[in-house]
């Protein structure tokens, strides 16, 4: 009995002791020292899309100064205390009754005067706040682009006109076949310099008859001085070209890879592959289309490659044309419209077989 108890106690003690020492200290779970890596995702176009200069641009000797911004004008300190002249809002002179000469035609000023007619108006501040618009253009478009565009619409017209005629109707009483819309003139003509028009209103405002009375002139000068805001100074805005004559004024020359992929995905969903046709892998078709700024197709897309052989090829080309028509409008970045105003789609099913 006693021996059994002793044995039992020793054995239990041994077992407990073993368990306490061997099982109670498992190996520490080591965590490696890892620093978090900050990752920034940058679209590739910000690296690759540097605006290209025009090789044919004239070399200017002076390095182009960067256009500076006018610093914010600093208002005069407001007078305080007993002062009745230099107030924040100067007293407006009473509108004077004077004879208005009704001249038939004001003689046009030979050249635009930079200052507006200093006649005191009921609200002189507002009137004077609008100086003559200075046509400050950074990049003056060269007149070359005009030449590019001219031959374009004429040749397109003939291509478009041919297609409907080719579709002959074998029925005697043929229904009116709707003609495809004529190609509107290319959008690139809109790139003609717009700033020239801005000069005209400036001339008109400046061509008012001047007052001759010297007293009035003094008054006007005084009024002008009162109205003149404190100029902020700063360098004049640069009239030089910002770069060596970029041929067009686009923020990016190319669609980025992701934008191309989006366009590709959009067309792929609409394209019904001519599977099972004889020599289907050789049915390559190219379609050219012009897009307007909202991504719709202008006119009708033209089949520029493929589609003029066997009936299978013609059907494949028409199927590709249906695909681009069905997919419109296209979601493309509006800022790069100049880039994608014309799209050529090459359909090539050879990878699918």
């Amino acid at each position: 009995m006693k021996a059994g108890l002793v044995t039992s106690v020793t054995m239990h003690a041994a077992l407990l002791g073993f368990g306490l020492f061997s099982l109670s200290a498992p190996r520490a779970f080591e965590v490696a020292d890892v620093e978090a890596l900050p990752v920034e995702i940058i679209p590739i176009e910000s690296m690759t899309q540097v605006q290209e200069g025009d090789k044919k641009a004239e070399l200017s000797e002076t390095p182009t100064p960067t256009p500076t911004k006018r610093p914010d004008p600093v208002e005069n300190a407001q007078n305080t205390g007993d002062n009745d002249v230099d107030l924040k809002t100067p007293p407006t002179p009473e509108p004077r009754q004077r004879e208005v000469e009704k001249t038939a035609e004001p003689p046009p000023a030979p050249k635009p005067t930079p200052k507006p007619e200093p006649k005191p108006e009921p609200e002189p501040q507002q009137a004077a706040a609008e100086p003559t618009p200075v046509p400050a253009t950074e990049v003056r478009p060269e007149p070359q682009p005009k030449q590019e565009v001219t031959p374009e619409p004429a040749s397109e017209e003939t291509v478009v006109a041919e297609t409907p005629e080719a579709e002959s109707v074998s029925l005697p009483n043929s229904a009116p076949v709707p003609q495809s819309r004529p190609q509107p003139p290319k959008a690139s003509t809109a790139k003609a310099p717009e700033r020239k028009d801005a000069d005209k209103p400036a001339q008109k405002t400046a061509s008012k008859p001047k007052s001759e009375n010297s007293e009035e002139l003094f008054d006007e000068v005084a009024a002008l001085l009162n109205k003149d805001k404190a100029s902020g100074g700063g360098a004049k805005r640069s009239q030089e070209q910002a770069s060596l004559g970029g041929s067009r004024n686009t923020p990016g020359e190319k669609l980025s890879q992701s934008e191309m992929d989006a366009l590709r995905g959009q067309i792929q969903r609409c394209w019904n592959v001519p599977a099972g046709a004889l020599d289907a892998e050789n049915l390559k078709v190219s379609i050219q289309m012009n897009l307007d700024a909202s991504g719709n197709i202008e006119g009708s897309p033209r089949i520029i490659a493929g589609g003029n052989g066997t009936m299978v090829e013609r059907a494949a080309a028409e199927s590709a044309r249906r695909a681009v028509l069905q997919c419109a409008p296209y979601n493309l970045p509006a800022a790069k419209y100049d880039t994608w105003s014309e799209v050529i789609v090459h359909f090539d099913p050879s990878d699918m077989f």
């Binding site: 590019e148 565009v149 031959p151 409907p164 579709e167 109707v169 074998s170 029925l171 009483n173 043929s174 229904a175 009116p176 076949v177 709707p178 495809s180 690139s188 041929s247 190319k254 669609l255 191309m260 366009l263 590709r264 067309i267 792929q268 969903r269 609409c270 394209w271 019904n272 592959v273 001519p274 599977a275 099972g276 046709a277 004889l278 020599d279 009936m311 299978v312 090829e313 013609r314 059907a315 494949a316 028409e318 199927s319 044309r321 249906r322 695909a323 028509l325 069905q326 100049d338 880039t339 994608w340 014309e342 799209v343 050529i344 789609v345 090459h346 359909f347 090539d348 099913p349 699918m352």
Partner: protein, 437 residues
Amino acid sequence: MQTIIRATFLMATLIAGLGVAVLPARAVVEIDINKGVVEPLPIAVTEFISADGRGAEIAGVIEADLRRSGLFAPIEKGAFIEQISNPDAAPRFEDWTVINAQALVTGKVSETPDGRLRAEFRLWDTYAGQQLIGEQFFTSKEKWRRVAHIIADAIYQRLTGESGYFDTRIVYVDESGPRNNRVKRLAIMDQDGANQRFLTDGRAIVLTPRFSPTRQEITYMSYEGGQPQVYLLQLETGQRELVGNFPGMTFAPRFSPNGQQIVMSLLRDDGNSNIFAMDLRSRNTTRLTTSNAIDTSPSYSPDGSQIVFTSDRGGRAQIYVMGASGGDPKRISFGDGTYSTPVWSPRGDLIAFTKQTGGEFQIGVMRTDGSGERILSSGFLQEGPTWAPNGRVLMFFRQAAGSGGPQLYSIDLTGRNERQIPTPEFGSDPAWSPLLE
């Protein structure tokens, strides 16, 4: 004189230089599309305008044909926005593109003063806003189904570029009765299962009917004379004749592409069979193979210059190709299992076959040099492929495990769109006719 030439030259250079300078430096987005979808083309088939209900019936047959091809998805009529009242006027294309119809069929059925049927139709490309075709047909009133099939063929051809196959017929072996006492009769029907009729009375077992590619004529094997022999049957007259008079049994007949020869197998007493060709006009027979093996199932290439057949000269049944006048056969199939019933596509690009491997039967196609083997369908028991005349669709027969008998099936060359062909009883050994004249 020289100055003039020089001046002209100068001018030319100047103009050329100008031309180069003026070349548009336009930015054009060029994009490659090399993936797409394989989907049926959504098409709207409107009811043809007619005084009676015939116009709707014809439109229904056209729609069913197009749907069965698997390449078109006819749109439900309930979705139509514009109701066509004048099929001669251009439809409002926006109403059809908005329901995603890429093509539109309109038409009119009327009766001519002499009591014939006049059917006209127009096919429109709704996205391009153009008429693709407009045709009219005259026929007798009872042939309205054929007119519908012809119109469906025209639509199919215009939209896929390949010739259609709807205006065709199928000849097959109709099987009825209990399994141990099957009655096998030759039957013929339109490719959509309509106009079913029998060509033989079922007293003798018939097998392997084949259509002539040029005439309304079929050749088949029958046990009528005690042993299997190849017969020729005129469909218009019902006239029947024995092809050749050989001592042994002849089987597996098939026409040449010009319809002037029949190529078939002749079994000799030693158990070997060889391939013979017989000219139908002169009745001269030519022996094409001389092997001590079983050569059978010959089929001509569409240009008639070559013959594909099965032979077990290599140990197991494989596919061989030889010249039409015999000569050195070249083995083209090298896969596992055994190959049988090779059929050359009417398009010439592929050979369809039955393959037996792994305990099942497969229907497949390979190129004529044996490359690019593709299995289209597998099953417990299925064989005997036959090509639609455009080489795009295959028909074969299949018996499912445990079922009472075989049924006819069709499948697209791409392996899609498998469909059962409705027959009143069991059916086997289908053969597709050429396009009817």
